[in-house]
């Protein structure tokens, strides 16, 4: 009886571990998609509306969900307060505070910070180009994750289950 319960527990834990790896990628994809949506809005507002960045980010925050929306709102608020920090510093501080609440990777974080360095002092054409460059990078990342999930999504579950099974056999 105890042995059966142990086997079940090992199988459950390893299968869930496999699921975690799969879901983590899915959630990362969701975060990246939300960020992509935000950047598309930002690009179009920079292109067509002559409104300050704090207003752009606030508008975006109302239309984006989750942590990305919250991040945009907080950045907008800090920029509107004008405490003397540069846009890059504000962007970095806010992201640093919230990055642990997202599923984004270190590599994603580096790209986000790189984009932050271009905020605040570029003219319309340059700001638009830098946003487009960041968007291309985000889209590339999304495509890579999608391909990986398509290829390995079920594999994560199976590997988890099979890994557990192997452990059970070894232990027995």
């Amino acid at each position: 009886m105890v042995q059966s319960i142990g086997i079940c527990m090992i199988l459950a834990v390893t299968t869930l571990t496999g699921a975690y790896f799969c879901l983590r990628e899915k959630y990362r994809l969701q975060d990246l998609r939300e960020l992509e949506r935000a950047m598309v809005m930002m690009e179009s507002q920079i292109r067509f509306l002559s409104v300050p960045l704090s207003e752009v980010l606030e508008n975006i925050s109302y239309q984006t969900k989750g942590q990305v929306g919250m991040l945009m709102q907080e950045t907008a608020k800090a920029m509107a307060e004008r405490t003397g920090e540069t846009a890059e510093q504000i962007w970095e501080t806010v992201w640093m505070r919230h990055i642990s609440h997202t599923y984004l990777s270190v590599d994603d974080y580096q790209s986000i910070l790189r984009f932050g360095k271009t905020l605040g002092y570029l003219d319309q054409e340059q700001q638009k180009n830098s946003t487009e460059l960041f968007l291309t990078e985000l889209r590339q990342k999304c495509r890579q994750i999608e391909r990986r999930l398509e290829k390995n999504g079920r594999l994560y579950y199976s590997m988890g289950f099979l890994g557990g099974l192997m452990l059970v056999i070894v232990l027995l």
Partner: protein, 320 residues
């Protein structure tokens, strides 16, 4: 008085601190000149003084890094949103202060597209001298009716300040005149986010950033003003629009560069307007006894109904 808090908020804190420390009297600060690779200069009481931190004997040289931070903060992190302003060479920030830009002009189809890199900034402190128009205000009326008024003076004698005060007085007069203001360069109202940074009274509508001629006609069509105020008429189209207004039942309150009526009469378009004696009051300003000295107020025939007596309003307010 000047709202300097909003200016300090728009400058990097370290730079703001140095300027405040170097300035003898913030109340008398008129201009701040920031040029790449040069010391920061402050204009006080008409003279220039270099910027020096309190505990430092060296002049603070304005660096590339300072310029980047300044441009970013002055444009509220949104230089891209002020493409048109940069093209025109100036930007009005919160508090009504005017930032002039200079740098390498990037051309497209023979027109200035933008300035890049920006090499110098000129921050002009906006000031309101409340009450400076009170003593001349009654002279601009005839039988209780406001007259078409033209304020003339050479540059830097306080035309815009006086115009702003007259607008406020009219807006707050008994019954309140509906005043429409065409603020092409953002100097009269200092509009920022749709809110006038200068106090122009409750009955004033402002159209900013719009060419004067178009602005005057637009106001006439859309806001049914009783008085239209406009700063620095100069182009032919401005005078044509002003002439249209005068014959449309709207009173005109405007300023032009010049030091005497004789000078104005020699100017092509303005001369034509004056020949018809439609302008009923001429307020002649000078800086003979300090900025804002009212030399005389003339009626449409050129007869003086007020002559200089006493100090300028700048002096009276402790500025000169």
């Amino acid at each position: 008085m000047a709202d300097l808090e909003s200016l300090w908020k728009s400058l990097p804190p370290a730079l703001g601190k140095i300027i405040q420390e170097s300035c003898c009297s913030l109340e008398r600060l008129e201009e701040i000149r920031l040029r790449l690779g040069q010391p920061i200069l402050l204009k006080e009481k008409g003279g220039w003084i270099p910027c020096m931190a309190k505990n430092d004997k060296k002049r603070h040289v304005f660096s590339n890094c300072d310029m980047k931070a300044c441009v970013s903060l002055l444009s509220a992190y949104s230089l891209y949103a002020f493409a048109e302003e940069i093209r025109q060479g100036f930007l009005t920030i919160e508090g009504g202060h005017r930032i002039g830009f200079c740098g390498k002009a990037v051309m497209e189809d023979g027109k200035i597209k933008t300035l890049h890199p920006i090499s110098s900034l000129n921050i002009r402190i906006a000031r309101e001298v409340k009450g400076c128009a009170d003593h001349i205000f009654p002279y601009l009326f005839d039988n209780g009716r406001f007259c078409h008024t033209l304020i003339l003076s050479p540059p830097g004698c306080g035309k815009t300040t006086l115009l702003r005060e007259l607008i406020r007085n009219l807006s707050r007069a008994e019954g309140g005149y509906a005043v429409g203001v065409v603020d092409e360069r953002g100097e009269i109202a200092g509009m920022c986010g749709g809110i006038a940074q200068m106090d122009l009274g409750e009955c004033t509508d402002v159209i900013s950033g719009c060419p004067k001629a178009e602005g005057m006609l637009l106001l006439l069509r859309s806001m049914s003003p009783q008085i239209i105020a406009v700063d620095e008429l100069g182009r032919e189209s401005d005078f044509l629009a002003a002439s249209d207004l005068i014959h449309a039942g709207v009173k005109l309150l405007c300023t032009v560069h010049g030091s005497s009526l004789e000078e104005l009469e020699k100017r092509a378009f303005l001369g034509r307007l004056l020949a018809h004696q439609v302008v009923e009051r001429f307020v002649i300003l000078s800086a003979s006894q300090g900025v804002g000295t009212v030399e005389a107020i003339l009626d449409s025939t050129g007869r003086a109904i007020y002559k200089k007596g006493g100090a300028s309003w700048y002096k009276a307010s402790g500025f000169a």
